[in-house]
């Protein structure tokens, strides 16, 4: 992973050309160009990316939540444009104590389940999501298993099924 | 052999039960069933008369045929009404359909 730069690689340059008013930095990893942006400008950026004819990112392929420890939670979006055939990754970094990101369900219907999954797994909050409830886990389970702080067997411990010490030993 | 009066008394009992059902029950479908009972009592009466008193012309039996026909039509329509009632008012109780009062 290269550090964010202001010389925008690949598709990011295109995005910068058309949406230059929005402050963001960019980088590139082994498959895609990456845009780094804060949650405040995220919705504006995505709206532009979706609506501008030159960009036309009409496809949301993936949403990944990552727990970066003390840096806070990060949400990684992958977009694709069927029209132009280009792909891009957008990283939204949230502060450690404020994991709020605007929802994309208004633009991409596909975002619904992805965001629900990220919300239940990591505790991200997608503001404006119409139905932000547990998807894969039980409805009344209030744990976020993909947080790094979450022990491997916390859920079982809570439910009293198993009281061995947490975590596998390797 | 069974005399005519037996049939008449039987049909009178069934008819009276039907009347009771129509008047005393709330469920529309049940009211309909009670009406069917009454109709059956009537056609039993008709046929008994036809078989005992009128064997040449059997008008009673013919009437029974028509009663059965009309009953079928009536049930179809009435049940359609019940279903409509249920759709509109979420009940199939006849005394809750008090829209006539308006």
């Amino acid at each position: 992973m290269t550090s964010p730069t202001t010389d925008y690689p690949g598709v990011a340059a295109l995005v910068h050309k058309h949406l230059g008013k929005i402050p963001f930095t960019a980088s590139k990893h082994s498959t895609d160009a990456v845009i780094h942006i804060d949650a405040g400008h995220f919705l504006e950026l995505v709206t532009g990316m979706h609506d501008r004819r030159e960009l036309a990112f009409d496809y949301l392929r993936n949403v990944t939540g990552i727990d970066l420890g003390e840096e806070g939670l990060r949400c990684v979006y992958h977009f694709y444009s069927f029209k132009h055939g280009h792909a891009i990754q957008v990283d939204v970094q949230t502060p450690p104590d404020n994991p709020h990101i605007p929802t994309l369900t208004g633009i991409y219907a596909a975002a619904d389940w992805h965001e629900r999954e990220a919300a239940e797994m990591l505790g991200l909050v997608f503001d404006g999501h119409p139905n932000l409830k547990n998807l894969l886990l039980d409805e009344d389970v209030r744990i976020h298993p993909l947080l790094k702080a979450h022990p491997l067997q916390k859920m079982e411990l809570e439910q009293g099924i198993e009281d061995t010490s947490a975590g596998f030993k390797f | 052999m069974v005399p005519l009066e037996n049939y008449l008394v039987l049909s009178a009992i069934v008819f009276a039960l039907g009347v009771y059902g129509v008047l005393a029950r709330r469920n529309a479908v049940l009211v309909l069933m009670a009406i069917e009972l009454m109709l059956n009592a009537v056609s039993l009466n008709f046929i008994a008369f036809a078989a005992y008193l009128d064997p040449g012309k059997i008008t009673g039996a013919i009437f029974a045929v028509f009663i059965i026909t009309v009953a079928a039509a009536e049930v179809g329509l009435a049940l359609a009404i019940v279903i409509r009632l249920f759709r509109n008012r979420a009940t199939s109780n006849v005394d809750e359909a008090a829209i006539l009062k308006w």
């Binding site: - | 069974v2 008819f15 039960l17 479908v29 759709r87």
Partner: protein, 168 residues
């Protein structure tokens, strides 16, 4: 003798089933009692030697009417066990009065009437399907056609009534 015994058994069954129909708490049970009662009446037709009408009774009532009733029960899904106030309370005494009165009157009339001068025959006369068909198609042709028209109208009416309307 055997016929009479059978007759009494069936008559008792009909009365029992009819009573079950109107007194049962559960509508579903009522429907099933009704089927029993209707079938019993069909058997009565056999005693009256009208096989054709007995079979018509089975076909129309057993095969169609009760099915429609059960279907309506399913569609309206009234609680199968019946509600505690399934009986129309305020009307109950009047209902009993009226039905009791009617029964008394009808039985009185049935028993007290001289049905035909010269006496009623002991046993029913056989009514064959040929007689019925001749009467039905020769003398009652117009009512027959009208009845069929009635059925058609009822069919269309029922469809229109029960049809799901736009936006409903």
């Amino acid at each position: 003798m055997a016929t009479e015994v059978l007759w009494w058994i069936f008559a008792a069954a009909i009365v029992a089933f009819s009573a079950g129909t109107v007194f049962s708490r559960s509508v579903l049970h009522s429907a099933i009692f009704l089927i029993g009662s209707l079938a019993g009446v069909g058997a009565m037709y056999l005693f009256l030697t009208v096989e054709f009408l007995a079979l018509v009774q089975f076909l129309i009532y057993g095969g169609a009417v009760t099915v429609l009733i059960l279907l309506a029960l399913m569609l309206t899904r009234s609680d199968a066990r019946g509600t505690p106030d399934a009986v129309n309370g305020p009307q109950l005494p009047f209902a009993l009065l009226v039905s009791g009165g009617l029964m008394a009157v009808l039985i009185g009339v049935a028993a007290g009437t001289d049905w035909r001068p010269g006496g009623v025959p002991d046993s029913p006369t056989n009514i064959g399907i040929e007689t019925i068909s001749e009467r039905l198609f020769a003398d009652f042709g117009a009512p027959f056609v009208i009845a069929s028209a009635l059925l058609l109208v009822a069919l269309v009416g029922a469809i229109i009534l029960a049809r799901q309307e736009e936006g409903e």
